[in-house]
């Protein structure tokens, strides 16, 4: 049946403001796909269209083969949606929240209690199940939302900013659980503006800016597209080392740093590191530190938009 999530020329206009501008996206079954972009890039608007909360202005979006505009009920049966903001649940206990949502998902009456307990256990909330929702920490509330989003074993899980506002501990908890769900074959779409989150969790990342997919691929592919790894070498005779390696096939460019080190741009640091050391030994040049860095998704964003994601974040 091809892609589980597919959008073609998806567009959303609010008044005169274009929030999503011809977005094309395809997510295969079992993949974890990240929508990465700064606030206001159109991630949440895209997700709200995919979860049937907003009608597209133009274009089409299909989830599990069903058009979100013409078959919203079919789409809703197949998605689990965890919102960006924690869902307010008033005076209820965690267990009551989950049981009520289980009933809303038409879990048979006699199974509601058991299924709710399973879901609470899955996110580590069973010990806190009978406390009032208002006593929970932000991370616990978020995990409760996640438990609710997974109650009906959705084919597609949509997470809007899954770790936003969470402490490090519960953030890891969420990540592990998301990974568990992936092993079960679930397709996950997650919107984030955390580079490390997209990098660590996603099989593929679509970088979004001004309502369009700017570039899409696996995190590794995207970073490779930026170009070279960077090998940094400090040594006593940088000029001699530079001359010695200048003609080597694995070197693309060499820039002398300020502090007596060399920045060697290479195709592949895995090849370049032993080669640098070999040249050093052969030429009798004593090497100090040899390190390398890989381009981050921030570099990818920079390459394709001319801006740094982190700067955009700070500015907004």
């Amino acid at each position: 049946m091809g892609a589980v999530i597919e959008t073609i020329g998806l567009r959303k206009v609010f008044g005169g403001h274009v929030a999503v501008e011809g977005l094309d996206l395809a997510v295969e079954r079992g993949q974890v796909v990240g929508l990465l972009g700064p606030n206001g890039a159109g991630k949440t608007t895209t997700i709200r269209m995919l979860t049937t909360l907003l009608a597209p202005s133009a274009g089409a979006a299909r989830v599990c083969g069903f058009d979100v505009s013409t078959h919203p009920d079919e789409v809703r049966r197949r998605i689990g949606y965890v919102m960006q903001t924690v869902a307010y649940r008033g005076l209820l206990t965690g267990r009551e929240c989950v049981e009520i949502e289980a009933s809303l998902y038409h879990v048979p009456r006699r199974e509601v209690r058991r299924r709710a307990a399973e879901a609470l256990d899955g996110v580590g909330m069973l010990p806190h199940a009978d406390r009032r929702w208002t006593t929970y920490s932000g991370g616990m509330k978020k995990r409760l939302d996640l438990a609710c989003g997974l109650l009906h074993a959705p084919e597609v899980l949509v997470l809007d900013e899954p770790s936003l506002g969470l402490d490090v501990q519960s953030r890891h908890g969420v990540w592990e659980y998301v990974r568990d769900r992936c092993a079960g074959g679930a397709t996950i779409l997650l919107a984030t503006n955390y580079l490390d989150e997209a990098d660590r969790l996603c099989d593929r990342v679509a970088i979004i800016d001004h309502g369009r997919v700017v570039v899409e691929g696996s995190p590794a592919e995207l970073k490779r597209s930026v170009g070279a790894d960077v090998v940094q070498v400090t040594c006593g005779e940088p000029a001699r080392l530079q001359r010695a390696i200048a003609g080597e096939g694995w070197v693309r460019d060499i820039v002398a740093g300020d502090s007596g080190g060399l920045h060697v741009y290479v195709e592949d640091a895995a090849v370049a590191l032993p080669a640098v050391m070999r040249v050093g030994l052969e030429q009798g040049i004593e090497l100090g530190r040899v390190t390398y860095s890989q381009p981050s998704l921030d570099d990818v964003f920079l390459l394709h938009t001319g801006r740094e994601l982190r700067e955009v974040e700070v500015a907004s």
């Binding site: 909360l53 960006q84 009906h152």
Partner: protein, 283 residues
């Protein structure tokens, strides 16, 4: 899905055609699930619960007893002022509950929980209908209490026990109108401040522009015309007739008008709900 072998069957089971018995079963399950939510919240707000149930009885006792001597029995057509006021107090309670009853919908909208609900495979009418079911049940309990207090004060319902049942029906119809109207307002306003400004502004005139305190015959002509357009008037007329005079054909006419008003307000509520859930700007 290998870790959830039952998921596929469950989804197949959760796939009834529209209008089928299974679909109706799902709808009832959804409505009861949300009504359970409203019910738990009501029980947890004890003070709120006690005050809201006691309020109409307190009104009846203090307002009724205090004003009775100042009222001309000729004008209101009976010397039983507490009996006359009973319908007005019930209606007053319905309006108050209509405002407080729309508040959870307002909070759901503002906190985003409405989005969570709308992303689920539930009937769009579930949210408002669950609110009706809950409001009518809560309302009926309050009315029975205030009627009990009225009986203790010496009021006798001329139409008898069956009349009390029809009073509850009239109250339920008005509850639907008022709940739907304030729900529509809750969905229509940009933020809750506007809701409270408008709700506060309309609630008292809604009562004064009805026959809650003064019979239509005793009003200036223009005011009686306005009162005739007010659904509250018909609920009060039906209830008051049943309490003071007993059975009359006009009661049926009032119930028909109330049913029409409920349908119109419900349509407005659903339309505002659709607008709200169809196009929302956020983030």
């Amino acid at each position: 899905m290998t870790s959830h072998p039952s998921a596929v069957q469950e989804r197949a089971a959760a796939h009834p055609g529209r209008g089928s018995a299974a679909a109706r079963g799902h709808w009832a399950q959804e409505v009861m699930a949300l009504a359970r939510r409203w019910w738990i919240e009501l029980l947890r707000e004890r003070l709120n619960l006690v005050l809201s149930i006691a309020q109409p009885a307190i009104w009846l006792v203090f307002f009724g007893a205090g004003v009775e001597r100042a009222i001309d029995a000729e004008v209101i057509g009976t010397d039983d002022y507490v009996g006359f006021m009973l319908a007005g107090i019930v209606t007053f309670t319905i309006v108050g509950n209509g405002i407080s009853g729309a508040m959870p919908l307002l909070w759901d909208k503002e906190t985003g929980y409405l989005d969570r609900l709308m992303s689920m495979p539930i009937a769009r009418s579930t949210v408002i209908v669950s609110r009706f079911v809950f409001q009518v049940a809560q309302q009926s309990a309050q009315i029975l209490l205030v009627v009990l207090v009225a009986l203790l004060l010496g009021v006798r319902i001329a139409a008898g026990p069956l009349g009390l049942l029809v009073i509850l029906v009239a109250a339920a119809l008005l509850t639907m109108s008022v709940t739907a109207a304030f729900s529509a307002l809750a969905y229509a306003v940009p933020q809750h401040g506007t809701f409270f400004a408008i709700a506060g502004f309309v609630s008292l005139p809604l009562l004064f522009m009805s026959n809650a305190f003064v019979p239509l015959d005793a009003m200036p002509g223009w005011m009686a015309v306005v009162a005739r357009l007010n659904p509250l008037t018909y609920a009060i007329e039906a209830m008051r007739t049943l309490v003071i005079r007993g059975w009359a054909a006009s009661v049926l006419w009032s119930l028909v008008v109330l049913a029409v008003a409920a349908a119109v307000c419900l349509a407005a509520g659903v339309q505002q709900f659709r607008r709200q859930t169809g196009e929302r700007v956020q983030g």
